[in-house]
């Protein structure tokens, strides 16, 4: 935490005007939206792009010879190109559209896992994973007789990297780890973790759901074998998401779901599959959402995303400073490298009650276990209240949060 607050040149008010949802009042108070780690809001650019598609371009993509279908197809594939550039993937073919991070994990656990992971093999996860990056691997391990190994964390909520290195061995078949923890905000050193795994010839799957909305991600620089994220956490509609995978893996993986759109030829004797990405995209996808994801990338490119990320980082530091100063408040997750998330508890007040009282002040936070029960068990709390920030939040909103937390303490005094 820095004592001197630097104000970056980022113009937050200009950006806020792009997000119509933020202008409303809730319970008679201006909305303070601090639930971005669950779902972030969408800009006019994304809303208008989705509306244009529905009003003027809607049609089923691929294989259509008519005007609308070709138009929809090129808009959908243009979105894939935008995503490719956004995460610096080598090729758009390596960017599979999925319905969100959860589907990205399930796809890899199901397809890669069932083919390449067997009895006695080991899967490394971390203590701070979201349930979505635990259960698909657990189901796979149960089915195959494989073993889950867990990278422990310290009291700050940072992974213990020495322990991680000790877990890697010749039985390790994959490492699946989050880039940023959804419950603690910890930024994990995934680049170094990937390099270490690669020394053992082990591929790494990164859950990037909480990273991509908060700072630029370069999958080639990370050398990630798989990297997945959700559209609805990065200012795009729900139902959009991406699984990046290196083609040498994707090409040798069997399909995840089968059906229309993912085949080359079908007879009752034999089906041959389409190349990537179609091989993993059975059925009609969420076309409007995918195009909306492309528009969200356009939006982030239009605002100087790096400056936005820097501003947001300062904001989270300010919020940490303000809440830490309140007696009775405990911050859960004090990693040295953090993004967006501020999880906290108040002495003798259940997080659910915090959530309700904050909501009455127009402040949206999340209260619960954040789909990360192993994290709650580690810190020995049933739940936390979680404020999670985006670049459109302001210092004034942080002040309102701090005042409202003070009020919670008064109600329960």
């Amino acid at each position: 935490m820095t004592a001197v607050k630097k104000m970056s040149s980022f113009d937050v008010n200009k950006v806020r005007a792009d997000f119509p949802v933020l202008a409303q009042t809730v319970n008679g108070k201006p909305l303070v939206y601090l639930d971005n780690a669950a779902s972030s809001q969408v800009s006019n650019l994304v809303i208008e792009r989705g509306a244009k598609y529905l009003a003027e371009e809607h049609s089923n993509i691929h294989r259509g010879v008519h005007y609308l279908s070709q138009h929809a197809t090129s808009a959908y594939e243009a979105a894939r190109e935008k995503v490719k550039r956004f995460i610096n993937a080598p090729s758009a073919k390596e960017c599979i559209f999925v319905r969100g991070t959860t589907e990205g994990v399930n796809l890899v656990a199901y397809s890669y896992g069932r083919k390449f992971i067997g009895e006695g093999d080991e899967i490394i996860l971390s203590q701070m994973e979201h349930h979505a990056n635990i259960i698909p691997w657990q189901v796979l391990a149960e089915e195959k007789g494989a073993k889950i190994r867990v990278i422990p964390m310290n009291e700050r909520g940072e992974l213990i990297i020495d322990e991680y290195e000790n877990l890697l061995n010749e039985r390790t078949k994959i490492v699946a780890v989050s880039h940023v923890s959804n419950s603690l905000g910890t930024i994990n050193p995934v680049k170094e973790m990937i390099a270490t795994a690669h020394k053992f010839g082990v591929p790494v799957f990164v859950d990037g759901a909480q990273a991509v909305p908060h700072f630029p991600v370069d999958v080639q620089d990370l050398d990630a074998d798989f990297y997945t994220f959700s559209g609805h956490k990065m200012f795009a509609p729900t139902g959009s998401g991406v699984l990046f995978g290196k083609k040498e893996f994707l090409n040798k993986m069997p399909p995840y779901q089968t059906g229309g759109g993912m085949i080359r030829t079908v007879s009752f004797e034999k089906t041959t599959y389409a190349p990537i990405p179609e091989k993993f995209e059975a059925g009609t996808p969420a076309i409007a959402a995918g195009i909306g994801l492309g528009a969200a990338v356009d939006y982030l490119n239009s605002i100087d995303f790096e400056a936005a990320a820097k501003y947001e980082h300062e904001l989270v530091e300010y919020a940490t400073e303000r809440l830490s100063a309140i007696e009775g408040v405990k911050i859960i997750g004090t990693a040295r490298e953090k993004a967006s998330v501020l999880s906290f508890t108040i002495e003798n007040v259940h997080p659910h009650d915090i959530g309700t009282i904050l909501d009455q002040q127009g402040i949206a936070v999340r209260a619960g276990h954040h789909c990360a029960q192993p994290v709650m068990q580690f810190f020995d709390v049933p739940a936390t209240a979680r404020a999670s920030f985006a670049f459109y939040n302001t210092h004034e909103e942080v002040d309102k949060l701090a005042d409202a937390v003070q009020k919670v303490i008064e109600v329960f005094a």
Partner: protein
């Protein structure tokens, strides 16, 4: 803030701080576990029956102020009642917090439990208020657990 005051009334805050019958009953004839996986509320209700009468009832567990206060007042209310009477109150309570019964105008035996009517304005909190009652209902019907997700 009037709605908020309706929800977090002094009585509720006081029961949250000092829950009544917050203990185990070693001689319990029936127990049931109640879970609200969404917020992590988890409680166990202990019932000691004497024939058809609830001789003793208590609870343990963790939860928010609403669920704890509700559990506390539930135990006070049903202790000494017959099973049928307890079930009637459960039914009325459930109807009150889901808006099917107006505790002020409809005939009922809710008494001081009426203060939980305020939870109606907070749809996300209805399950917190009703968790202990569902758990009691499960215990009385010899079901082992209940989830209000």
């Amino acid at each position: 803030m009037s709605e908020l005051n309706d929800l977090y009334q002094e009585v509720i805050l006081e029961h949250n701080k000092n829950p009544r019958n917050f203990r185990e009953i070693e001689t319990a004839t029936r127990t049931a576990d109640g879970n609200n996986p969404l917020c992590g509320d988890a409680l166990r209700v202990y019932v000691e029956m004497d024939g058809e009468t609830v001789k003793d009832v208590a609870f343990k567990g963790s939860g928010c102020a609403i669920s704890k206060a509700s559990a506390s007042m539930m135990t006070q209310t049903v202790k000494g009642k017959t099973r049928a009477e307890a079930e009637t109150i459960f039914d009325e309570f459930h109807k009150m917090v889901t808006g099917e019964l107006d505790a002020e105008t409809d005939e009922n035996s809710l008494g001081k439990l009426k203060i939980f009517a305020g939870v109606l304005e907070f749809p996300a909190r209805v399950k917190c208020a009703s968790l202990s009652w569902h758990t009691l209902h499960a215990a009385l019907n010899e079901e082992a657990e209940v989830s209000t997700e």
